[in-house]
Every structure is written in structure tokens, then in C-alpha cells.
Symmetry: C2
Subunit: 250 residues, 2 copies
């Protein structure tokens, strides 16, 4: 019987064409599966908690795969890190029950969208934030964001592809905070639609710069129409921070 | 009479071939002088507090140039930032007395060498630190570093090119501190020899990993021989933090 192995990984998404394996493109799944193949001698297919797009980062992406590998988890961490390129790291490995599935069993994911709100953009953060020159009204953004909390149809914040059967999701936590010159938008939900956090960020930025009143976000949600919301904010500000599972192993 | 203008600039050195203008290579001086030319319509030659090498960063490099530009300093900051590539930013501009010279008048410079000492290297800090896997004994490094404080011949920490007439310098402050998983080596001196901070960092790392006793650094200094010291640590961990002038304008 193959073992079921769970990994927590982090990556700088800048130089990847997103998570999902694609022919002839450098993807996180591609380099990870190649490292597993080199280490174990077996092909493996990995499943992640969800796909991340080109340029999007992960601090705590969770992955599982089945393998005949006999390596103890702590050896897997070291050996995979020795084989992987330096912009993706394995943070931890665990042997889990056969039934565990990183995609299907994810109960909640936390994403953070980071905005550099310094007047002069920080040249060391170009790959890790979206720069907004105009001072953001964080209190207004936070207030506006609360309209999104709870179970709603988020069709207004969904980009066309790939459409899911339903665009109803539950946001369990949403908060906008300032950390010095940087603004963080944290969104935790039971699932995310395509570009959902980036559409929320693009919408809240319109509130933050004063172009839209905070109350408008509730109207955008009610419209169930992508055209009602703000633009999709660029990928480099987005981080998948953590994924929660019922077993809470990590 | 041309005005004498002083700039404080920061840059991510990763994609530059160092500070100094070179034909057909992307350098900080090259892009800065090009932005000044575009803005003012005049060629200008800039002088910096000192050269930084390829891959070395600056938080507070200081530069001066003479120009017929009529722009008030606050306009210079905005307009140059609009023209410069995003990995170099002007933090401030001041009109200074004709006699001010960024290189010759620098009284002290503070460099910081940053080491990622996490067991698993942080993939988001690859461009901004040198990763050392072995846990560093920061107390031993700090103790060893104190032997370098004061006025000494630093020939043991100087790479061949370009040799100065004298390799005597005065280190006014040197400290090694841990910030979570990161270790900072701060060195302030009245001047620096070529690769001096990187040679000091490479030497202190040998102490930190336990290969050399802390007391050996005093012997290395006394040897006045580059071969006695440790290796030159890689450039990406090095930051020029600030430059002090007698007029303390900044």
C-alpha cells in the first residue's frame, strides 16, 4: 500500500507560471513532482489545497501525494529541499491517513493581499506587494469589507474561468489593517472563486482612495455581476497564508 | 552658477552591475544620470558616498551632482522617481553648498550584512541575505567582532582591487545581533576597503559556526594578510544603510 504524504510548502510565485503543471512552463507543481521523482524514483501526482496563479505566493500551501517512498517525514523535508529550486521550500511533511485529500478536505483558507502604501514605493518589496500611492483610508476599507463576511453568492468577485457550479462561499474572517506603510487585507473562507481575493482587493482599494463610499461594497455583492466590482488587483500582492483541515495536523 | 544637489537614494542591487557607470551594463549611476538628463535636459555626473558592487543594496546611499536644473527639491524627488526604474528610488533631495562632496565629505558609513540563519532558507529573502544553515553563535560573533573596533590596518579584510594608498581605517561601531531567524552584522567606519564588510562577515561566520574561536579574529587582524581571514561572503546580504556628513543635513 502506498503511503499518503502531506507537505506544507512555501514559494515565491514571481518566477512560476502558477501552481498547476503545464507543458514547457515552470510551475510549482512541476518542480515539486520532479523533485519527488528524483528522490523516490517514482512518478507522483500531487494535489494542492488549491491552485495559485502566476505571480501569487504561498506561505503555507498544503499538498498531498501517494508514494512507495520509505523516507521518514523529516528526511523528506531535507531531501526535497536539497533537490528543489530555492524559490520553493518544504516546511514540513507528515504521513497521513489514506483518506486525507489536500483539496477536498480543506475546511478554510486564509489569503493575505499586501499593499505598499508608502508615497515612494519600497524597491525591496516590488515582487511582494501592489503599490498604491494615494493614502488609503483603512478604517473605511475595513468597514466596507464587513459586508462580505458570511455566506453569499460572490459572483461579482469571480473572473470567468474556471467557473464553478456555484459561486456561493462563506467568508469567516475579513479584515483590513495597516502595518506601517503597508496595508494587509486578510480573507479567510471555506473556498475561493477564481481571482476572488484580487477582485475584493481591487474593490476595497477604490473605497480606500475615496472613489467609492464604503456602503457601495454591499451593493456590489448584491449585484452578482463582475462588472459591478472593482478591477482585479495584480497578483504579486497575494499570499496563500494557511489552510485549515478538520484534523488540524499542521 | 550651477546648483549643487544632494540626493538620498535606495536601490535593490540584484539587477544592477553595481553603482559605477560602465558601457553597456545596467548600473545605478547609469540609470540615475539618464533620469537626470531626461528631466533637466542636461548631462550630469553624479558622485556617490562610495561604490557598491554588483548585487549589493542601499537603503541610504548619498549622491551629489551639479545642475542648471531649476526644480525645487521636492519636485526633483517626484520627477526622478517617475523616470527611474522601480528598483531604484530617490528618498529625498536637498540643495547644498557648492563645497559639499558626497564622496569626500562622508564622515562615516554604516553597512549591514544580513544572514538568513533559518534551517530552511526563506524563499522570499533570497535576494536580500546569505543563507547559513548551521545555527550561528551570535554572542561569540559579537565578541570576536569587538577586536576589529577602533583604528587598525585592515589589510587582512581587503580584496586586491582597487588598492588604496593606506588600508588603515577606523571602525566606530560593530555589532552582531539576532532578529528571529536572521542575523545582522552592523559595521560603521570612517571608510571601507574593497570587500571589507563581506570579508568581515565571512570571517565572523566561521566563528559563528564554531570552526574558529572568537579570539582568532584578533590574530587575523594582526596578520595584515588577506589569506588569514575567512572567505568573502556573497554580495546579496550587504546593505549600505546610511552615510553621515559633518553637516548632518539628512
Amino acid at each position: 500500500m502506498l503511503r499518503n504524504l502531506k507537505l506544507s510548502i512555501c514559494y515565491d510565485g514571481t518566477d512560476f507560471h502558477g501552481w498547476q503543471r503545464q507543458p514547457d512552463l515552470r510551475t510549482v507543481q512541476g518542480v515539486l513532482e520532479e523533485a519527488i521523482r528524483q528522490l523516490t524514483g517514482f512518478e507522483a501526482t500531487t494535489d494542492a489545497s488549491g491552485r495559485t496563479d502566476a505571480g501569487v505566493h504561498a506561505l503555507g500551501q498544503v499538498v498531498h501525494f501517494h508514494s512507495a517512498s520509505p523516507h521518514p517525514p523529516e528526511v523528506l523535508v531535507k531531501a526535497l529541499n536539497a533537490l528543489l529550486p530555492r524559490d520553493v521550500r518544504v516546511r514540513g511533511a507528515w504521513e497521513v491517513p489514506q483518506s486525507f485529500h489536500a483539496t477536498l478536505d480543506a475546511k478554510a483558507k486564509l489569503y493575505r493581499y499586501v499593499i505598499d502604501n508608502n508615497t515612494i514605493a519600497d524597491p525591496f518589496q516590488l515582487r511582494y506587494c501592489h503599490h498604491v500611492h494615494h493614502p488609503l483610508d483603512v478604517a473605511a476599507m475595513h468597514l466596507a469589507a464587513q459586508a462580505l463576511k458570511g455566506r453569499h453568492d460572490f459572483h461579482s468577485f469571480e473572473t470567468r474561468w474556471p467557473n464553478r457550479t456555484s459561486s456561493v462561499r462563506t467568508i469567516t474572517h475579513i479584515a483590513v489593517n495597516r502595518m506601517g506603510g503597508f496595508v494587509w487585507i486578510d480573507v479567510e473562507a471555506d473556498g475561493f472563486l477564481y481571482n476572488m481575493v484580487r477582485a475584493i482587493a481591487g474593490t476595497l482599494i477604490l473605497v480606500g482612495v475615496g472613489r467609492w463610499p464604503a456602503s457601495r461594497v454591499a451593493d456590489v455583492l448584491a449585484a452578482e455581476d463582475r462588472a459591478a466590482a472593482g478591477p482585479t488587483a495584480p497578483p504579486q500582492g497575494l499570499f496563500l497564508v494557511r489552510v485549515r483541515y478538520a484534523d488540524d495536523r499542521e
